[in-house]
């Protein structure tokens, strides 16, 4: 022990205490600079990326507050010099924006609730019950994911046209009351529960519906949350179907209604953008509020499996 002690000490005696301190200080400073440079680079890269991604939105917000006269200059006018809310007021008075927003809320809300109900029922059957043709039926459901919506949209339009359902709420909602992806997502979640969960509930005299409502739904809150956020945003943003089946201001959704502001009359550009900003706000708010939920639900079980 004593011999090795002097050996170790000997190796260090090559440099004096002061030199050592000096060396440590230098290395410390260098390491600190290096780390700062690394974090700084990452931060700068992120800021650049964020500006690129957010540019359209920031630009839209800026224009929405710009008096329409200010837009028509040749210089680079990134920010409104005299911010105004007149554009928003105009947007509301020029088109029944509130009615559109209400329509969209009704449509997106009903689609969201409907999908959650139909998808959890179907996923329950596919994961807990045994019946003939289960595998085949599930394959059929999954295969529907491959059919692009446009491949069916003409026939659907003709169908609802013949039924005289055009320009009503049901025609906006009913075709979207279920989704293969939702069934898949819920099933992925249900499969993580042991079948004994269902069997013991059954033994306790719990019926299937009760089992779904009292046990499955509380256990899959995160999946339901994710599904709700995702479905609502997609329904809110739907364009082609509402474009085809709505004709009157009473039924138009925001995405269709807002394009009514889209006129060649350049004077109304700022008003149109103000309208766009208004209708982006609900979907973005829901996204920001539900983002955590969405990520946890969509990616914890679904994609991995």
């Amino acid at each position: 022990m004593s011999q090795t002690d002097t050996m170790a000490a000997g190796s260090q005696r090559i440099i004096s205490r002061e030199e050592l301190l000096q060396l440590k200080k230098e290395m410390n400073a260098r390491a600190l600079t290096r780390r700062r440079v690394r974090t700084g680079t990452l931060l700068v890269a992120n800021i650049i990326m964020a500006v690129v991604i957010l540019l359209p939105l920031l630009y839209a917000i800026s224009i929405a507050f710009m008096p329409s006269g200010e837009l028509f200059t040749t210089d680079l006018n990134l920010f409104p010099k005299n911010p105004t809310i007149q554009n928003f007021v105009d947007a509301f008075t020029n088109v029944p924006l509130l009615k559109f927003i209400l329509n969209s809320f009704i449509m997106a809300g009903c689609i969201t609730i409907g999908q959650i109900i139909t998808c959890s029922l179907a996923a329950f059957a596919f994961s807990f019950l045994e019946f003939k043709g289960k595998g085949l039926l599930f394959m059929v459901v999954m295969a529907t994911m491959m059919v692009p919506g446009e491949a069916t949209i003409i026939s659907n339009y003709l169908t609802v046209g013949n039924l005289g359902m055009l320009d009503t709420y049901p025609v906006l909602i009913i075709p979207y009351l279920t989704s293969a992806m939702g069934i898949f997502l819920f099933r992925q979640f249900y499969m993580t529960f042991p079948i004994s969960l269902y069997e013991s509930a059954k033994l306790d005299g719990c019926g299937n519906l009760r089992f779904i409502v009292k046990i499955l739904i509380p256990l899959t809150k995160s999946a339901i949350g994710a599904m709700a956020v995702y479905t609502f945003i997609n329904a809110w943003n739907m364009y082609m179907w509402p474009l085809l089946v709505t004709g009157s201001n009473d039924m138009r959704t925001v995405q269709i209604g807002i394009s009514m502001l889209n006129s060649v009359d350049s004077q109304s550009i700022t008003m149109m953008i103000a309208g766009v900003v208004m209708i982006i706000i609900p979907s973005i708010s829901i996204f920001i509020v539900g983002q955590k939920q969405l990520i946890r639900g969509m990616f914890s079980g679904a994609v991995k499996g």
């Binding site: 179907a122 459901v141 446009e150 069916t152 169908t159 075709p175 364009y239 550009i269 920001i288 994609v303």
Partner: protein
């Protein structure tokens, strides 16, 4: 009594499938087959099948200059959208992978485009690309009428779509990065790998399963882009942005040629299905762990 109970037991599973199957049947299976049926007919203005023409609609399409242009335009469009959208998502996900101050803000920003409707985005881009007041021309000091120029219109619409899709791609890639075991990076540092080597030999292969899934979803989605084209270019100028979906819309709802539109829908379906099948075939060989 027993028999009744038993039959009830057997029927009950199907009861839970009724709501979803009903919707699928009426709005997916039936129209799907009806579309195939319609594609074999000439139709009247109400979409009623009138004259059976067999494969004539398909033959007409495949020999039509306009449809071949549509195919070409769609292909270019899809490639730009998929590559651009995935690249944006991937870069954002890699930038946002390590913890640093402000990461919450940045990751929300990167995912944000997924919450924006194609129509809203299209209207914003319309102003950005406006020849006189648009920010793009002002910043670049150019005077280009982006959306009215056949050389640039398609790229503009494609880049907009790539931007829209980058949000969800970012989420997919972030989830994929999160699934990569952190310690293999530690081992790689001790083994002597630099950050570029780590990216190419660990990160990219580690992302490959999710990359594949994202690729398939992106391709399918890109084929279906409609709103932005309807608002920004309406297929023009000079059919430069007349992707198949828009061509279907125009044929059916402007020209009332439902038969031809249906045939195009079927072709679109076949293309998407073939690509998906080929991708899955490749995946079975390529991504194997």
């Amino acid at each position: 009594m027993n028999a009744v109970k038993k039959s009830k037991w057997n029927a009950s599973p199907y009861f839970y499938l009724v709501p979803c199957m009903l919707v699928f049947a009426v709005f997916l299976f039936y129209p799907f087959f009806k579309t195939i049926f319609l594609s074999l007919f000439l139709t009247d203005k109400m979409g009623q099948a009138k004259v059976f023409v067999g494969m004539q609609n398909y033959m007409d399409l495949l020999t039509s200059e306009s449809f071949r242009n549509s195919l070409k335009v769609t292909l270019i469009f899809v490639v730009i959208v998929v590559v651009g959208g995935m690249l944006l998502g991937l870069i954002a996900a890699v930038l946002c992978n390590k913890a640093f101050p402000g990461i919450r803000f940045f990751s929300t920003s990167y995912a944000l485009p997924m919450a924006i409707a194609s129509s809203s985005a299209a209207m914003i881009f319309e102003i950005m690309l406006h020849p006189t007041v648009g920010i793009v021309n002002k910043m670049l000091g150019l005077d280009i009428n982006w959306l009215n120029n056949p050389d640039t219109a398609l790229y503009c619409v494609a880049i907009l779509t790539a931007w829209l899709n980058s949000g969800i791609n970012f989420l997919y890639f972030s989830a994929g990065l999160g699934n990569i075991d952190e310690t293999i990076y530690e081992r790689a540092s001790v083994d002597g790998a630099g950050s570029i080597q780590k990216f190419f030999s660990l990160t990219l292969p580690g992302l490959s399963p999710i990359m594949f899934y994202t690729l398939v979803v992106n391709i399918i989605q890109a084929f279906q882009s409609f709103g932005q084209i309807k608002i920004l270019t309406e297929g023009g100028p000079d059919e430069a942005t007349n992707v198949i979906v828009y061509s279907i819309y125009r044929d059916a709802f402007f020209n009332y040629r439902f038969g031809s539109a249906a045939a195009q829908s079927v072709i679109l379906f076949i293309i998407v299905m073939l690509i998906t099948l080929v991708m899955f075939r490749i995946e079975k060989k390529g991504v194997s762990y």
